[in-house]
Structure formats: structure tokens, C-alpha cells
């Protein structure tokens, strides 16, 4: 896959080695407002597996899995026991595959395990922090375990902890941290040696909705701001759609589907609108619907969903639709409570890709998930 920014694709711009660190663009941020954000052309496969299988005496964890993962944030989705953690172990070069092969950053996992582990970070699913040391001490130690000299280890630790959002509390023992803070320390130790790729195993586990959103935002920044590619696992499809560029779905060790999230979720945009009632229009929702109908826009009710009577769903064709809705509501003298985009959710797209239901049903799904 390749993405292009201002410049059109030009093969001459591809620098030397395909895994040259200088190739991975890092967006410089902060400091100045005048930073020009340039997206360079990339043509890199970060992870590639070829009919990769892992069989244990009783169970097949991975079954001829072939998948290519490019730079960016990639979600690895599957139910518990689908083979996500097994795949990460193999990719780290810690567990030999029964058959097939895999490459990470162009290095064969079977022979170049140590070189891979120097360039990637890993955040385990389970708790892995000793409670009696401070986050700073712990992350410095882990940085040195990754081969960073003492001074660099301390500097990188301070930087990384700040980036994941730990400030004064980083000098206190980890035992007193909240789950959210612990997750940040775990993320920091995976990023401290500035890897090219990080494996995050269920990073949102055990977090409340706010913590979950913050963690997902942080993961997004790991790629956009830090220039580090991410492979993040989850058993929840929904939470990956905002974060990931690509989603790989595995089930029972088999590849179910691998594609770009934008392919699924941005084909159409559904707008949800909610308005107030006035004396003039006791049923504001109906008034808006009729007015929009009059202008040739098909509008649907939220269906039999909770609060459905007050929510209108319509398909946005572009900027004009937003203007139209605004004007119609202003003309009627109603108050606009909300107007929001409801992207289709990955789960629904996967289901629909197999059964190909009507767009009408898709919108109902969207309302159900988004509300």
C-alpha cells in the first residue's frame, strides 16, 4: 500500500533500503506552528506472514495465516483464543512456527529474532509492573535492557513518560497507580527505545470508557506523532475503527478478513439529527422531515431503537447536505440539539459484506451502535 501527500507517487523518491529508518516519516509537531506536514511516499510491508501455522498437541492456534501489514495502525481482531497472542509471540521470534514463515521489518522471525526485538516494542496484555519501584526507575531499566546507554535511557524515559501522559506521579512507586496509569507505564516501556513497530496486546483491557478513549487516542498518536507503526489487538471490533488504518480479523487461527478501515466505514456518511420542538411546530422532528422531503432528501426515522422518535437519519452527499439541514432547521425556527456523523461500524460492515443487506438496515445499525 502507499499513501501520497502533496507529491504524486514518484518511484525515484523511494530511498535506498526498504527498511531504512530514515524512510519512515515522522511528523514534527509542537515547537512551532509553521511546521510543514509532509507525507512521504511509503511502500513498505512491516509484517508479512506466509501460510503461518502454529499447532500445539491439542489445538491449532494459527492455521495457514497469510497476511501483509503495512505501516500505520493495524488492528488485529479476534475472539479470545483466536490466536492473537500466539501470532505476536511468533512475530517476536520467541516461539517457532510449526510451518510457514513470517517477516517483521524485513527480518525473518526464525533467524533474526534478536534483531527484530531490538527494533520493536511489546506491551503485554497482563499486568507486568513491579509495585515497589517508580515508573521512572522501571522504564529506565527497561530502556537499558533494550540496549540504550545510561544517559540516553534516562532522557528517553523522561520524554516517553511525558508523551504517554505521566508527569509528577512518575516518581512514585507504581503500586499506587490507577489501572489507566499502569497501562501508560506499560505503553511507555514499549516505546522507550524508539522502536519502528510496537505490538500492543489488548491495551484497553480493564479501562473505563474514558480511559479507553484516552488510550485509543494515545495509540493513534503513536503513529501520527511518533511515526511508529502499531499492531494492536482487541477482541472488540468497535473500538478499533476510530484508531486503526487497517483491520485484520482472525478467528480460530484463520484469516477472516484484512482490509483498510476507510474502505468499510467511509463509503457513506450517515448524519444523525435531533431537534427541539416549539409551539409553532409541536413535533419538530416531523416538521424537519417533511421540510427535507420537500427538498428531495430522503430521511428516515431511527426505527424502533431507543429515542428513535427524535432522531432523524439521512445520508450526507457532501458539504451541501450540512448547509441544507442547517438552513431548513433555521427556517423552521427550531433548535438543533445535535447533528453528528455516524460512521458505519466495522462489525456491521463485516456482517453486511457477507449478507449484503440494504442500506436502510445499515443506518439502523449505525443508530444502534452510535447512540
Amino acid at each position: 500500500m502507499w499513501t501520497s501527500g502533496d507529491a504524486p507517487f514518484d518511484p525515484r523518491r523511494i530511498p535506498r533500503g526498504p527498511y531504512d529508518r530514515r524512510r519512515i516519516p515522522r511528523r514534527l509537531c509542537g515547537l512551532t506552528t509553521g511546521v510543514v506536514r509532509v507525507t512521504t511516499v511509503m511502500y513498505v510491508t512491516v509484517i508479512a506472514t506466509e501460510s503461518l501455522s502454529k499447532r500445539f498437541p491439542r489445538v491449532t492456534a494459527l492455521d495457514r495465516l497469510s497476511v501483509d501489514v503495512g505501516p500505520g495502525v493495524t488492528g488485529l481482531v479476534g475472539a479470545n483464543g483466536a490466536g492473537k497472542s500466539t501470532l505476536i509471540k511468533i512475530l517476536l521470534g520467541l516461539s517457532p512456527a510449526t510451518e510457514g514463515r513470517a517477516e517483521v521489518l524485513g527480518l525473518d522471525v526464525a533467524t533474526k529474532g534478536a534483531a527484530i526485538r531490538e527494533r520493536v516494542g511489546y506491551m503485554p496484555e497482563h499486568d507486568c509492573l513491579p509495585p515497589d519501584v517508580s515508573a521512572t526507575e522501571f522504564v529506565v531499566h527497561m530502556a537499558r535492557m533494550s540496549g540504550l546507554p545510561p544517559t540516553a535511557a534516562r532522557e528517553r524515559t523522561a520524554d516517553t513518560l511525558r508523551h504517554v501522559g505521566l508527569y509528577e506521579e512518575r516518581y512514585r512507586p507504581i503500586g499506587g497507580y490507577s489501572t489507566g496509569m499502569k497501562q501508560r507505564v506499560k505503553l511507555a516501556q514499549a516505546l522507550v527505545h524508539d522502536p519502528q513497530l510496537v505490538f500492543l496486546d489488548e491495551p484497553t483491557n480493564g479501562l473505563d470508557p474514558v480511559g479507553r478513549d484516552e488510550m485509543l487516542g494515545l495509540i493513534r498518536r503513536v503513529h501520527t506523532d511518533f511515526g511508529i507503526s502499531v499492531l494492536v489487538t482487541s477482541h472488540l471490533l468497535g473500538e478499533l475503527e476510530r484508531t486503526c488504518d487497517h483491520v485484520v480479523v482472525i478467528d480460530g487461527g484463520k484469516l477472516l478478513r484484512a482490509s483498510s478501515t476507510t474502505d468499510f466505514t467511509q463509503t457513506t456518511t450517515t448524519l444523525a439529527i435531533e431537534v427541539t420542538d416549539t409551539d409553532e411546530h409541536p413535533d419538530g422532528t416531523r416538521a424537519v422531515r417533511d421540510a427535507l422531503h420537500a427538498r428531495g432528501v430522503t430521511v428516515e426515522n431511527g426505527g424502533g431503537l431507543p429515542g428513535a422518535g427524535h432522531v432523524l437519519l439521512l445520508t450526507a452527499q457532501g458539504e451541501e447536505t450540512y448547509d441544507l439541514v442547517r438552513d431548513v432547521i433555521a427556517d423552521l425556527g427550531l433548535g438543533l440539539v445535535r447533528m453528528e456523523q455516524r460512521r458505519h461500524h466495522i462489525s456491521e460492515v463485516f456482517r453486511n459484506s457477507e449478507t449484503s443487506t440494504s442500506s436502510d438496515e445499515q443506518r439502523k445499525e449505525a443508530a444502534g451502535h452510535g447512540g
Binding site: R21, L28, S95, H126, C128, M142, D159
Partner: protein
């Protein structure tokens, strides 16, 4: 290293600490050997509570002082009474102080390995360039070094004191050297046994109890059996029974080869032939401890 640079940052902005953004790391990555050395020094410092909480410094430091004080007293007595020899041989010191050494192993071996197991930190190590062998060797070497510091320090006190008391230089130096070899063997042996026992359980308390039990029960059983054998006049049996506890093993090796007087009942240590067996068993135990630790950590893996 980045592909682009900020076009022109206004000079005033650079003095402000605002948000300096993400900086990538281009410096050296020193690899496995460096990581192993770092883990070694961190574990060695940890064995004396350095870099850990004040509370965890108390016990190792206390035991270190307890190890050294008798040596200082002996030196003081030797200097004051103008004695011709130290009251205790260099090789004998560790045997006499074995309870303190056992206590030290029991307290520090679990803290060295059980913490990583209990808090599941081990996967974080093995997702980095270091491998099982590096981890095991660094931990083993660190605890053995810590034990060597603990057991060699009082010998150093004795040696310096002996020279101050103007005892015979050649004689003292030879004794001191023999003592150092003996405590080096003891350190390796005790560290290996302590780590193997501690690495089985992620619970620190169990680890401490198990290490103490292994060290004291084996010594208690062996010395009891030796005493019985001695009473029944079978000095051959006394020697062979001595193979079965770490401290009597060290005692046998040093009385066979390092000119030490045996602490066995009856005072008859192993001869040269039996001594070779002692050395082989000691080395075999060290190798076995290393092998068991490797197996254990291969399994914990990730």
C-alpha cells in the same frame, strides 16, 4: 533524521519549553552484551538494596555488618594481645558464619528472581534482545558476586588486620588466597541452590522459607549422620556423607586442597582422591543449578 525540518522556527520559540514534540532516538543501541551487563549490575546492586526502597536495604546491610564485626573483633584482639596467629583460619570463617550466609541467600535469592516471576516482568525482558541464557547468567552472576562480597569482605578485614598486627606476610597471604578460593566456590554453590529453589515459586515468602529449609535441613541431616558415623568409628562414611550438603561440600574441598582443617566430626577431612570427587560434585551442582534455571526460564518465556 526526519525527512523534513521545521522551515524556520522563530528564534524566540526555542527558549520556551512548550511542547517539544516527539524526538526519535538515533543514538547507539548497545545490544545483548550491554543489556546483560546492565541486568547484572542492577541485580547486584539490588542484592544490597541499592536502588530499592530504604526498607529493603536494612536486612542485607545488617547481615553484611554481622559478617564483618567478628572479623574486626578478632583483628582487634590479635593486635591487642600481640598474638602470633589469627584466632580463626581464613578458610574456617565462612563455615563458622554459615548461618548468616544462609540467611542472606534466603532473603536475596527470592527478591532477585521471584519479583520478576510474581509481577510477570519476565516477558518484558524476553521481548527485548536478551535471551534466556543472558537473563539466567546475569542473575546467577549477580547473586554469586553479592555472596562473594559478603564472604570475602570479612576475610579482607582479617588480612588487613593481620598485616597491621605484623603477622607473617607470606603465611597470611597464602591463607587469604586459599580463603578467597573457598568463598568463591561457596558463593557459586549457594547462589545456584538459592536461585533454583527461589525460581520455582513466585511467592517471596515461600522462597525464603524453602531456601532456609534446603540449606539448614541438609546441613543438619548431614552433620547428624556424620556424628553418628563418627561415634561408630566409620570415618570413611563421615567423608562420603559430607557430599550431601553444600556447606560440608565446601568444607571437604578446602580441607582436601586448600590446606584447611576439616570441620567434620573427628577432624578427618577427605584425602586427595575423595577430594577430587568433592570438587566434581561441587562443579556438577553448579552446572546443574545453571541448567535447571535455564529450563525454568525457557518455560516461563512469554
Amino acid at each position: 533524521m526526519a525527512v523534513e525540518h521545521p522551515a524556520a522556527a522563530p528564534p524566540g520559540d526555542q527558549s520556551r519549553i512548550h511542547n517539544i514534540g516527539y524526538r526519535s532516538y538515533d543514538g547507539p543501541r548497545l545490544g545483548r552484551a550491554y543489556a546483560r551487563r546492565s541486568l547484572y549490575s542492577q541485580s547486584l546492586r539490588g542484592a544490597y538494596g541499592l536502588g530499592r526502597s530504604a526498607k529493603s536495604k536494612v536486612l542485607p546491610m545488617l547481615l553484611f555488618v554481622v559478617m564483618c564485626v567478628p572479623a574486626a573483633i578478632m583483628v582487634a584482639v590479635a593486635v591487642a594481645t600481640k598474638a602470633n596467629d589469627l584466632p580463626l583460619d581464613y578458610t574456617r570463617y565462612a563455615i563458622v558464619m554459615q548461618a548468616v550466609i544462609s540467611l542472606y541467600v534466603a532473603s536475596q535469592a527470592p527478591q532477585s528472581v521471584s519479583r520478576d516471576l510474581r509481577f510477570k516482568t519476565v516477558p518484558l525482558y524476553f521481548s527485548r534482545p536478551i535471551e534466556t541464557a543472558d537473563y539466567v547468567r546475569a542473575k546467577y552472576a549477580a547473586l554469586a558476586s553479592a555472596l562473594f562480597v559478603l564472604t570475602a569482605a570479612p576475610l579482607l578485614v582479617l588480612y588487613v588486620g593481620a598485616l597491621l598486627a605484623k603477622l607473617d606476610f607470606a603465611d597470611q597471604t597464602e591463607g587469604f588466597a586459599q580463603g578467597l578460593v573457598s568463598v568463591a566456590l561457596l558463593s557459586l554453590l549457594f547462589a545456584g541452590i538459592g536461585l533454583v529453589v527461589a525460581s520455582v515459586t513466585p511467592r517471596r515468602g515461600f522462597g525464603i522459607a524453602a531456601v532456609i529449609a534446603v540449606l539448614t535441613i541438609s546441613y543438619g541431616a548431614v552433620s547428624t549422620l556424620q556424628a553418628i558415623a563418627d561415634v561408630q568409628d566409620s570415618s570413611g562414611a563421615v567423608v562420603w556423607i559430607g557430599l550431601f550438603s553444600p556447606i560440608t561440600l565446601v568444607d571437604g574441598v578446602q580441607s582436601a586442597f586448600l590446606g584447611a582443617a576439616s570441620a567434620f566430626p573427628g577432624g578427618t577431612g577427605p584425602g586427595t582422591g575423595e577430594g577430587v570427587v568433592y570438587v566434581l560434585v561441587a562443579l556438577g551442582l553448579i552446572a546443574a543449578a545453571h541448567g535447571l534455571l535455564m529450563r525454568r526460564y525457557k518455560k516461563v518465556g512469554l
